[in-house]
């Protein structure tokens, strides 16, 4: 596979190597300088509504006993990514781990003992080369499903996503190469659970409402986030997010909208800051009389709510109100609880009503 960015990224990796050899040839300790990816160095930019890495940087020094191993590993990852780009291959991050794992001669140690050693170094390399993981020819785990009046060209194949029955398109890890051949949809509806997507497909919601349905199956994978971003940016489609009415669902929304803390350095490329939150909300519980089918908050839910309240990007009056209502009522509400009204209810009443009234949270 070939990307437009290949030359640029390969060059960045080479520069990284040059920096180290220069250190060596000038008899100074070889070091990398890289941004700190800790919560303390993550900032919310109110202007564009995205999370960014701050300016704190740290130094990785071969001659610092505590850094030596990681220094070596960083270069191994960089070297392998250069190879992938040159050979026009992509690899999953687990494949990368296995490709790089080997015994270090004269020891019982391996270069990597587990994938947990290589994964963070991929993120380091992304920040140091200012490039996306996918541009390094690496694939994250994929998940997500798509339905709707959209025709895509993928690897030369023409896929009509309105003609995939109740099966749907599996969203891969790399979507930058998708070409959008035709789109008859009016908006994108991002849905937390695949089961809810099934329901909407059974009700033909996507066809009758001209909606592109993107099912996440929990937290949004990178491929799905990038695809939402591309649909929004290239096709100018509004994006509505439909999750469970609980802190976990709300955080899924915030990741789609604002970016995630783990990947703050990629918010610009993965987040869709103009998307809107559709539901479920605490008001829904009252408006649609769902009291009987709420679930009680557990301690872990309460803890998570308080965490969200401490994040700057949740410090908007409507979110604070929403989260505090959840705490004071001691309840949460799931998408599928709407089934208690009737199976059709979500497709025939709830969603059309919310969208018609523009009953969104930003």
């Amino acid at each position: 596979m070939k990307f437009e960015t290949d030359e640029f990224v390969a060059d960045r990796i080479k520069k990284l190597g040059e920096k180290v050899t220069t250190d060596i040839f000038s008899s100074t300790s070889p070091t990398f300088n890289l941004p700190v990816r800790a919560a303390s160095n993550i900032h919310y930019n109110k202007d564009d509504g995205l999370l960014y890495l701050g300016t704190n940087r740290s130094t990785r020094d071969f001659f610092n006993f505590a850094h030596t191993r990681k220094f070596m590993q960083t270069l191994l990852v960089a070297s392998k990514c250069k190879e992938l780009i040159e050979n026009q291959k992509t690899a999953s991050i687990r494949e990368l781990y296995y490709e790089l794992k080997h015994n270090i001669p004269g020891t019982k140690e391996n270069t990597f003992e587990g994938q947990d050693e290589s994964d963070p170094l991929i993120e380091d390399l992304e920040t140091m080369t200012d490039s996306l993981r996918e541009q390094l020819h690496l694939k994250a785990d994929s998940s997500g499903i798509l339905f709707g009046k959209l025709i895509i060209e993928d690897m030369g194949d023409r896929i009509d996503c309105s003609k995939l029955g109740k099966s749907g398109l599996a969203i891969p890890s790399i979507v930058d190469d998708y070409k959008f051949l035709q789109c008859d949809a009016d908006y994108v509806l991002v849905v937390e659970t695949k089961a809810m997507v099934d329901r909407l497909v059974e009700e033909k919601f996507h066809l009758e409402n001209n909606a592109i349905l993107v099912g996440l199956g929990g937290q949004a994978a990178r491929g799905a986030r990038r695809l939402i971003k591309l649909l929004n940016e290239r096709l100018k489609l509004p994006v509505y997010v439909f999750t469970d009415g609980d802190p976990w669902g709300y955080y899924i929304y915030s990741v789609v909208k604002t970016g995630s803390m783990n990947l703050a350095y990629e918010s610009k490329r993965l987040a869709t800051p103009n998307c809107r939150f559709l539901g479920m909300t605490m008001d829904d519980v009252d408006n649609f009389s769902l009291h009987k089918v709420t679930e009680h908050l557990k301690d872990v839910d309460k803890k998570r709510i308080n965490q969200l309240l401490s994040y700057e990007w949740f410090k908007k009056p409507h979110w604070v109100k929403e989260l505090k209502a959840m705490l004071s009522k001691g309840i949460r509400i799931e998408q599928q609880a709407l089934a208690s009204k009737s199976l059709e209810f979500v497709a025939k009443e709830y969603l059309p009503q919310k969208i018609a009234k523009k009953d969104f949270i930003d």
């Binding site: 070889p30 800790a38 300016t55 070596m72 070297s79 250069k82 803390m261």
Partner: protein, 566 residues
């Protein structure tokens, strides 16, 4: 009339018994509650007496202890010393009369109760029916040999034989025959003698166990501790009942003389102050005070500021001697001993000594080895009831590099010896096995533990550092090959060029680390430094050599151990 008959009848049954009979019935009160404990108590009372006698006479002690099992669970117990011996006429009373002895004045000594050795004699005759044999030589060329028992009804000695033979030298020997059980292990006689040897390193002890095996605990210090002096009672340790009796029995003509002559640390001024505070005339005759006068006086004493008692009455073992004792008996690789300055509780002077032995022959696994001492005597039982144990449990050992779960016994290769010396050791019970919880005492124990543990921590950190430095040596070589391969792949430089450059750089850096390592290597000699008493300045200096620094970001969501530059 029938009512009166009841009281009459009951009255006839009243009688008086002797203190010997009382303790015969209540032998558990004196440490003879079971056969195992009884045997160890007999040995202990005799050894304590022997060591006290030698120290009183300023003689370097040489003690011989032998046990023979002459019948099933019947032991002959022999303890012999090189002390001053005992005058012939005193022998029967000292060994065969309870509550008779030399130890009723305020003076630091092993025995406090004046009851120990005669209790052992009482236990011997109760449990085996046998008399006790005493040999005493005071250096006049004669040996007096007594066979004694206690007349239980009268608490008076019965002399069964009394013989004098010619023999040179000096010392006392006691032979008891008692019912007992001999065990090995933590609360054994062997362990008791070993622990005694640690805190009495100026004594030579030979122990022959029931199997005939001989153990020698050698003398490694050639000077006795400073002599403990008797002191008078300090007014702050006074109870009103005692004051009344003193007032009644004193020969002092007036109150001022009474206070200045009968108490420690009371000068004329203080005495006058007490009288003034109590509203009594300084010239009053002490014997004429009424009860209310005495109560006023007692209250006044508590209100007047009196100098703390003098502390020359204390005879600590001393840091150097404890080090030597620990070294010879436990052989740790590192020792740190703190001998605190004297302090006071309830008017009684006391002093805390703490020794920590780390590593070496000590068990790496399991709980630490805690040994408690009071006036040089190891405390064997009731560990959990003792405030010394409480202080050890409450100390934060993790801070000093020793593993410890919350509020439980620390684990690791550590021996902790804690010694309290006092003219009046506050035991919690009759067993003389556990120290009561006085805040002043706990505070001193804590301070001593902290001080000693801080020194130990420096040693442990140093040891860790040396290990690290050695590991470092290897690390760079291990990881450089992969780095060179990767760089050759990434850049356009030839592999050989990178390899040569990197190797040159590593060699250069290694030289710098060698220096560090040598510095750190000094730590290897720390053991000797501490043991021979080098000042800790040189050590805390070297502690500050940090070889590498790691800073952690707060709230890391990824691992992030690099140094942060803003």
């Amino acid at each position: 009339m029938s009512e009166e008959f009841i009281a009459d009848k009951l009255a006839k049954e009243h009688r008086s018994i002797s203190v010997a009979e009382f303790f015969e019935r209540n032998k558990h009160m004196l440490g003879f509650s079971n056969n195992t404990k009884a045997l160890i108590t007999c040995v202990r009372e005799a050894v304590d007496n022997a060591l006290d006698a030698c120290e009183d006479a300023r003689i370097l002690p040489k003690i011989y202890v032998e046990l023979k099992e002459i019948d099933d669970e019947v032991f002959r117990v022999i303890i012999e010393d090189n002390g001053p011996g005992i005058k012939k006429k005193n022998i029967p009373n000292i060994f065969a009369k309870l509550l008779y002895g030399s130890k009723f004045n305020l003076k630091q000594s092993r025995g406090q109760q004046g009851i120990g050795i005669s209790a052992a004699v009482l236990y011997a005759q109760l449990s085996t029916g046998r008399t006790t044999k005493i040999y005493s030589r005071i250096g006049d060329g004669k040996t007096h040999i007594f066979k004694l028992r206690i007349n239980v009804s009268s608490n008076e000695p019965e002399i069964l034989s009394d013989e004098t033979i010619k023999a040179d030298g000096r010392g006392t020997r006691i032979e008891l025959t008692v019912r007992g059980r001999y065990i090995k292990g933590r609360q054994s006689i062997e362990e008791y003698i070993k622990q005694t040897a640690i805190m009495n390193p100026y004594a030579q002890v030979v122990f022959v166990d029931p199997q005939g095996q001989q153990f020698e605990f050698s003398r490694v210090v050639d000077a006795l501790p400073i002599e403990a002096k008797s002191i008078k009672l300090h007014p702050h340790g006074l109870e009103i009942g005692i004051l009344m009796r003193m007032l009644k029995n004193t020969e002092a003509r007036n109150l001022v003389l009474f206070f200045t002559s009968e108490f420690s640390r009371v000068g004329r001024n203080t005495a006058v102050q007490i009288c003034t505070k109590s509203g009594l005339d300084t010239k009053m005759k002490p014997t004429t005070l009424s009860r209310t006068d005495t109560e006023s006086l007692f209250k006044a004493i508590k209100k007047v500021n009196i100098q703390a008692p003098q502390t020359d009455c204390l005879s600590p073992v001393g840091a150097e001697a404890i080090k030597k004792g620990l070294k010879k008996e436990m052989n740790p690789e590192f020792i740190s001993v703190i001998s605190r300055p004297p302090a006071v509780y309830s008017g009684y002077p006391f002093q805390i000594e703490v020794g920590l032995g780390y590593g070496g022959d000590l068990d790496k696994e399991g709980p630490i080895h805690l040994i408690r001492y009071a006036n040089k005597v190891p405390l064997i039982y009731e560990q959990s009831a003792c405030s010394i144990t409480r202080a050890v449990l409450k100390s934060n050992w993790k801070r000093y590099g020793i593993q410890q779960s919350k509020n439980s016994f620390p684990t690791g290769p550590l021996a902790v010896v804690i010694h309290i010396v006092s003219v009046w050791v506050p035991y919690t019970s009759e067993g003389k096995e556990a120290i009561a919880s006085y805040d002043d005492i706990l505070k001193e124990i804590n301070l001593a533990i902290q001080e000693a543990a801080r020194k130990m921590k420096i040693y442990i950190s140093k040891k860790v550092k040396i290990k690290e430095a050695e590991a470092r040596k290897k690390i760079f070589h291990i990881y450089c090959t992969d780095v060179i391969d990767a760089l050759a792949n990434i850049t356009d430089h030839p592999r050989q060029k990178i390899e040569d450059g990197f190797n040159a750089l590593i060699n250069e850096k290694m030289k710098a680390f060698e220096v560090d390592l040598t510095n750190a290597g000094k730590g290897v000699e720390i053991q000797e430094e501490f043991i021979t008493g080098i000042k800790s300045d040189s050590i805390s200096n070297s502690e500050e050599q940090t070889i590498d620094t790691e800073e952690k970001q707060t709230e890391p969501i990824q691992d992030n151990d690099e140094e942060v530059v803003q």
